[in-house]
């Protein structure tokens, strides 16, 4: 991307989706036994974790537990046990249609805008600072063909577009940005954050580095307190992306928050990545984003443009998975014979 020192448009790697077979099994039984023809949207929960390998990104993963198991749980928000470091919850909404025609007729653009608006409102209300998971919402539209046991689906990861886009200077490995002493302190602080069940699944945070190279990590809601100190402040997030020259998707809405809520135009960010489950300053990146949006972009009533429909092998297409082999009773009977 950028040579050190020069500035280019900050380009972020889109989130990728991954769906566990268990999710489709539970969706099928929910549809058959509980939902019937009711096709109102359902609150679901996706999971992600920081990238933990230099060669593959992490993904937004849906598991059986992403869905409520019964109708009574449907009405409430899904209950997710907190504190699993490998499962940082991301709130999502599922539109499962009854027919393929309904699926095709969905107004994808307005659905995406509606989710972007929620993020925008959570930014302005301050909710996103208290519960930073609200910054990374996702949307899933699907048609479950329970006669053929095939599932058509499409994910969106709504991102608020800065206008003009942010530029980036000096993106480099965290190990190069920090002094060895600071890098060690940042690693230790991050590992502590990741090991505490209270904060292990909190994906956005502040890294405050004192003049004597000591790093502390705080929640976004402690931003005011951090301003009172004279420490260097970096905005950290769990980065699912593994690429050495690009931050991952969650940074987009964090930048929107920093710009709209805290009015910052120069933002140092830390793309937090791990190796074998521990902070890795060689994989983690530090860069500086320069934001120069017009004043009226920040106005709460002015919802920014939203992008985020996932591409399928580079094309604007839904995905389809056929699980007849593991779900179709007749095929199961044949293979068992």
């Amino acid at each position: 991307m950028a040579e050190q020192g020069s500035s280019t448009v900050l380009q972020l790697a889109p989130f990728q989706s991954m769906v566990d077979e268990g999710f489709w099994h539970r969706l099928s039984s929910l549809k058959l036994n509980e939902l019937g023809i009711n096709d109102s949207p359902i609150s679901i929960t996706g999971f992600y974790a920081p990238c933990s390998h230099s060669q593959v990104s992490n993904h937004l993963t849906l598991l059986a537990e992403s869905l409520p198991s019964t109708l009574s749980e449907l009405s409430s928000e899904p209950v997710i046990s907190r504190g699993n470091r490998n499962r940082c919850p991301v709130p999502g909404l599922l539109y499962n249609t009854n027919t393929l025609e309904d699926f095709r007729a969905l107004d994808l653009q307005s659905l995406l805008k509606a989710e972007g608006k929620k993020i925008w409102e959570d930014i302005h209300s301050g909710n996103a600072e208290k519960n930073s998971a609200l910054l990374s919402r996702f949307l899933l539209v699907s048609f479950a063909d329970l006669k053929k046991w095939s599932f058509h689906y499409w994910f969106a990861f709504p991102a608020l577009a800065l206008k003009p886009p942010a530029t980036c200077v000096g993106l480099r490995k965290a190990s190069q940005y920090f002094s060895p002493e600071t890098a060690q302190s940042v690693s230790a602080a991050c590992n502590e954050w990741r090991n505490s069940s209270l904060t292990a699944d909190v994906p956005f945070f502040l890294v405050s580095v004192s003049s004597d190279s000591q790093a502390t990590i705080r929640g976004l809601h402690e931003w005011d307190a951090c301003q009172a100190e004279s420490n260097e402040l970096l905005y950290g997030f769990y980065d699912p992306c593994h690429l050495p020259n690009n931050p991952g998707w969650p940074l987009r809405n964090l930048l929107a928050l920093i710009c709209a809520r805290w009015n910052q135009s120069s933002v140092k960010f830390l793309c937090y990545r791990e190796s074998r489950g521990f902070a890795d300053m060689e994989l983690s990146l530090v860069g500086e984003a320069l934001i120069s949006v017009a004043e009226d972009w920040k106005r709460p009533e002015n919802v920014p443009d939203v992008v985020g429909w996932e591409l399928n092998k580079g094309k604007r297409l839904p995905r389809c998975i056929s699980l007849a082999k593991s779900m179709d009773p007749t095929r199961l009977a044949v293979s068992a014979a």
Binding site: V9, M18, H59, N86, Q109
Partner: protein, 315 residues
Amino acid sequence: MVLSQKLHEAFKGTVERITGPRTVSAFKEKGVLSVTEFVSAGDNLVSKCPTWSWEAGEPSKRKPYLPADKQFLITRNVPCLRRAASVEEDYEAAGGEVLLDNEDDDGWLATHGNPKDKKSDEDENLPSMDTLEISSNKPIQSISSYFGGDDDEDIPDMADYQEPDNLIETDAATLQSTYLVAQEPDDDNILRTRTYDVSITYDKYYQTPRVWLTGYDESRMLLQPELVLEDVSQDHARKTVTIEDHPHLPGKHASVHPCRHGAVMKKIIDVLMSRGVEPEVDMYLFLFLKFVASVIPTIEYDYTMDFDLGSSSGS
């Protein structure tokens, strides 16, 4: 499924139902684990290798003898950058490999734990599709079609989704994926980058842990379990690695059959003890995962711990 295998499953199921779980430790004597030893070894794995976590699985499949929230262990999104078949070519070129099951062999750690430098020679060793035994009579198709359904006419047409504005393809702040667009899906580079969910369950009949594999292709779509066998050492594919129902998750998954696990673990423990290392039961899963790495050499899950096993290469 073969009849004998089915009969055995039925027998095993009955025995599991009528016998209680092992409560007395026989770790050093037989290489097996009691339920509580499995849980404490699992706790140790999760704390030392935090990419692993405990999961509850399907509530309907819950085993009463295990804690509800500690039914099995799983590590997700583990990279598998090349097919096992191509790695074996490397070994053969380098003088052949030592098989773990081989009776004469006690160098169980010697070969697979450290395949020759993968990073530097990766480019020269692009897997050739001709050499994959499994695929030789069943050509590799475009990846999406494995699970992509056979009803192409039902897949909505791209033209239906022309959006007027705010496209991700034209958004300046979106990194336009180069490799997914630029290369066809049947390209070797993409085929290589699979990921796996690796899970460990407790097998009550054999009283050992059991490993399960769920594979995903380069676009993170589920792999057919049969294709998972490409990532299994070819000496084990379809013999010790079979495709069965997962005890806690829906669907068919590839699994390393546990019938010899106790014996192999016993052998490993004996080797350690003969070298004066007193193995702790907490270390069981690390030893176990190290041995499983010989069956699935290219799936890079985490089991590392800096402990000295007195292996033939070290100490």
